[in-house]
Each structure stands twice: as C-alpha cells, then as structure tokens.
Amino acid sequence: MRPMPNGLTSGDNLDFNQFPDLRGHFGPYGGQFVAETLMVAIEELTAAYEHYRDDPEFQAEFRHDLTYFVGRPSPLYHAERWSRQLGGAQMYLKREDLNHTGAHKINNTVGQALLAKRMGKPRIIAETGAGQHGVATATIAARLGLECVVYMGAEDVKRQAPNVYRMKLLGATVVPVESGSKTLKDALNEALRDWVANVDNTFYIIGTVAGPHPYPMMVRDFNSVIGQETREQALALFGRLPDALVACVGGGSNAMGLFHPFLNDHEVALYGVEAGGDGIHTGRHAAPLSAGRPGVLHGNRTYLMETDDGQIIETHSISAGLDYPGVGPEHAWLKDNGRALYVNATDDETLAAFHALTRTEGIIPALETAHALAYAAKLAVTMRPDQTIVVNLSGRGDKDINTVATREGITL
C-alpha cells in the first residue's frame, strides 16, 4: 500500500481492468438482481456483448459512428482564463458538450443501438430523467430506423417539456410514468416492466452505469472513449498524465467513462462529485455515496438513499440529471477501496460555478457538469500552477437556462 494523491491508500496489486467478474460483481457491489422473468434476456444480452466487445468489425463501426455522427474526438480545452483567475492548478475541460446532442450520453446510446441492431431487436426502450438520455436514444433510433419508446416520470415530463418535444420530433413515443415519485427511478422501473413483457423484440438502452450486469460494464466501456482520448490528449498537450480528474456523479456514466482508463494509474487522483442539493446535513440532496448506505435497487447492489426500512427516498438536486437515489456499482466499489474520492457540491456552489465558467470561458455548462466545476475550483486552489486538473465537461447548459432563470427570479 502506498499513499495516494488524495491522501487515501489503495491496494497496488488491484488490476482494475479485471473487474467486474463474470457475473458483474465489483467486490460486494453490482450483480444481477432482477426477477427470473428477465434473466434470459439478461443472459442473451451478456452473451451478445461479450461477443461484440472483442469483435473488430463491431468496434470499427462504433468508432466510425463516434467520429462521423457524434463528432469525436472532443477537444481537451485549456481553460486559461479560469485557471488564472483561480490561481491554482491548470484547468483542462474535456469537451463532451461539443458532441452531437450536447452531452456524453450519445457515446453509450450509439454503442448500445449498434448492439441492438446486431441482436436483431427492432424496438428500443429507454428511461430518462432530464431527457438527455431519452433524446440521445431517440436520436440514434431515428438514424438506425428503430422503434423507440422512452419512459419518463410524469413530473419530469412537466419540467422538461422541450426535451419531450425533441424526442417526439425524432419519432419516439414518450410515456409519462405516474407511479411512485414520478421521476427517474420510477421511469427505470417502468422500462424494466416493458422489457419483461417484450423481451423477444426489445432492447433496453440503460443510460447510466447502473442496472443489472452487463449494463454497468457495457455503459462504462462505451463511455471509456472519454478517458482514452483524455489520456492521449494530455500526453500530447502537457507531456504527462493529469494530476487529478473531476467529474459529476449521478448514476455516474460520464465519471466512469473518464476514470476507467486511468484506474491503474495510481498517481492520478480521481474525484466524483455528487449533488449536495441544499446541503448534506439537510437530507435534501442526491448523494448516496456521501450519505447513503449499500442496498439493492434496479438490478445491482450499490449505495442508495433509503429509509431505515430500505424504502428508496426521493432525492433533491437543482439538476434533474443527478436526481437519482442510486449510483453505479463500480463507483460504490471505488469509494470503498479508496481509489476514487467522492465529494459533493451544493445547489448554490453549483450555480456559482455555472456562472463563473460561462463568464470567464464563454462556455455554458450543464448544471450536472457545474457540480464538477464547483469542486474542481476548490481543488485547484490547493494545487500548484504546474499541476493539472481535467474536468469532464459532460454536457452543455442550454437545456438548463430556464431552471437557472427561474431560480434567480427571472421570467424568460
């Protein structure tokens, strides 16, 4: 064991590329906690993904689409003015906001939709919270000519009308979910129910590194292009690996995509930033790694926000995309083994960072992303100017201007 840059220790002998195991376990986390009615579909998907994961033709088609449809590679941008203003480490932004549809979500939907096509499934379903994953799924479904049904909590349908319309323009059917808290977690439940009933012709595109195995691994793999590019770009731009990586964590797909290619590089510190909402002490937040405990939900064992009785509780965050009571199982494991550090940013800190980046760099970040920026700004001032931080700029903020305006008492 040796000390790590974030002050924790971790077993040097862990090879992070060996995880998950065959049944999708990251230590005690992950797994396949679904009803028997879904297991055959999960087995079929696992086998298909294991096959295509190493299939050169599949990978070539995926890379081709990332280049010509998504617009990759995304730049690693040196935020010079912001770095100077903060007076600490150099801030680099991995510009996932410049992808087609404006966020990292498209990387995964392109990959899973290609898999659906190879598996001969003409119908795609997805869950969505803020609508970003729904839009990314509807987008790729339109391109591949697949039927697309998106489940969205009835509350979210009301809050995210523009994205609902976008999905409809793209030819998707948006189904408002009225059960439970009528938000993302309930949309996920409903999508799972649809899948159980229609396993023969339906592929379920989960939008984050959660759900039953193989989803956490598969979504991570498709998003790992973020970290792979960052690695090459860092070496080209400043001749070494970054000192720290910072990404926001809801389900955790953009963070996992950035972190994974660096997990075995113990000199690179990893920070996942959860939604602190009104502050952890208020209980009104969406930070299961900061204030939750392990349990089983949506097909995997992970940290959850729950009551003493194990009932899942409603979350609160200014950003709908982080409003989820669970988190990907690999993050749960990285927290326990100390390889990554999980922190949080409150709604107020997030808004301040949103404005700071917009004004100093001319980039309007998504509110989800602004959580990462808020923590990165705090971290930067504890580091030297010759050190570097890469922040995953996971999405653009156009979708959030109404939320920000309303919060600040402005009517558009």
Partner: protein
Amino acid sequence: MNRIDRRFLTLKEQQRTALIPFVTAGFPRPEVTVPLMHCMVAAGADVIELGVPFSDPMADGPVIQKAGEQALAQGMDLARVLAQVAEFRRDDASTPVVLMGYMNPLEAMGHEVFAQRAQHAGVDGVLTVDVPLEEAQDWVPTLQHYDLQPIFLLAPTSNTERIRRTAELARGYVYYVSLKGVTGSAVLNTTEVAERVALIKRQITLPVGVGFGIRDAVSAAAIGACADAVIVGSALIECLAAHAQPHNETNMFAAVTELLGGMRQALDQCGGNSGDIS
C-alpha cells in the same frame, strides 16, 4: 417438517390442488391484514403469500404497485409485516405463510437478523423477487439455516438449464409465472401453461404453483388441472380495493370469501390435480 412441506404432503394425500392467495401486507389498511389472513384461510386458502411493500416494485403491475404504495403511506414496514405474521400465528399454527417481496428491505434489516426474526414470527418461506439463481448462493443458506424455505420463480423464458439449477436451490414449491410481463398482465393460454408445467415437472420434484393471470373460478380450475397450486394476486387485490372504504370490513371479507371460495370449489370439483399430465 416445515409447514409448507407438511401442507403440500397433506394436499397430495387428499389429491387436492392448493389455493394460494397473495395480499400486500398493510393493504388496504394495516389493521385489516391479520383478520384478512384468517378470512382467506376460512375461505379455503392453503398457503398465504404476504407481500412486503417496497417503494420500487419493478416486477409488479399497477394493481400491486398501488397497493404497496398505499401500505407504505400508512406506515407499513418490514418489522410490522413480521409482527402481523406473529399475530396471525397466535390463532393459526398450521397455515404456511410465505413472504414475497424485494431484497432491499430485507437487506436493510440485515440478512441474518431478518431470517432470525422471520422464523421467530412464524414465517415459513421467502420469495425474493429480485434475487435470481445468480445472486442466491449466500442468501439460500441463510434462509435455510432458519428453516425458511427459499421459494423461486420460473418464467416462460426459463430454459431447461435454469430449471435444473432452480431444482437444486428451491425448497417448498416453485412459482411458475405463467405470462411474460408483470403481475396483473392479461390473457392466459392454459394449453401453453400445461406444457410448461409438464416440462418443469420433469426436472423438479417440488410442487409447482402457477400465478399471473388467474382471475376467477374458471381460470383457477383450468390451471388447477395441471398445477399443484394456483396463486391469485392482482384479482384479489382488486377485490380488496373495491371494498377498501373504512368500516366496510364485513363486505370486504364477504367479497374475498366469495372470490376465494369460488376458486376453492372449482378446484375441488375438477378433482384436484394429479400433476402427472406429462
């Protein structure tokens, strides 16, 4: 001998098919649950499946989802479910009770603590919907250590390999989900169910119960002809919901007695199941 095994042995001797009602604990009101359990036994229930409410019941349809939500809204939790079973046991020492639900509330209590308390309360079997064979390796021994039968689901999609592996882990009975979809889904194809049950019985010696899609005496009798047990859930919950007004227990129990009594009669009239239709 566990109450479930004893009950199915008796039924076999009598050549009768088991009737297994499912109700959500605490629905429509927590104080109704125990009297309702006794009422169901009087109406002909052989085993009772008691649903443990969970906030995110991903394998259930709207009827059972709503029942769970209402139960939780009235303060139901796992500890109260166990207290209800203990109360039921004071007046009924022989009817097996199976808890059916999702892993998280049990995990929140602690696997071992739950199993110990469940046994103490008089629970006989546990069906954890979201724990398939793949995740059952540690869970099954914990349950068995406290004489709780691990009940497993089988689906129309379960292949012979999965049926074989289920045979190794399952105890008590297996629960064949006769439809693709969630609880409360529509149409039942009895010929197809009979074929699947026969297939399962070639590999599993335990009694086979069939659930999903059984709504009345006719469908119960049709399924009873090939299964060792018929399980009725959503139709029963709908019946409870229709009589859920406060101070209406008499009507509610009458309706439940009529529904289950009709099924009981239909099952007994068709002569009970041999199970040997293969």
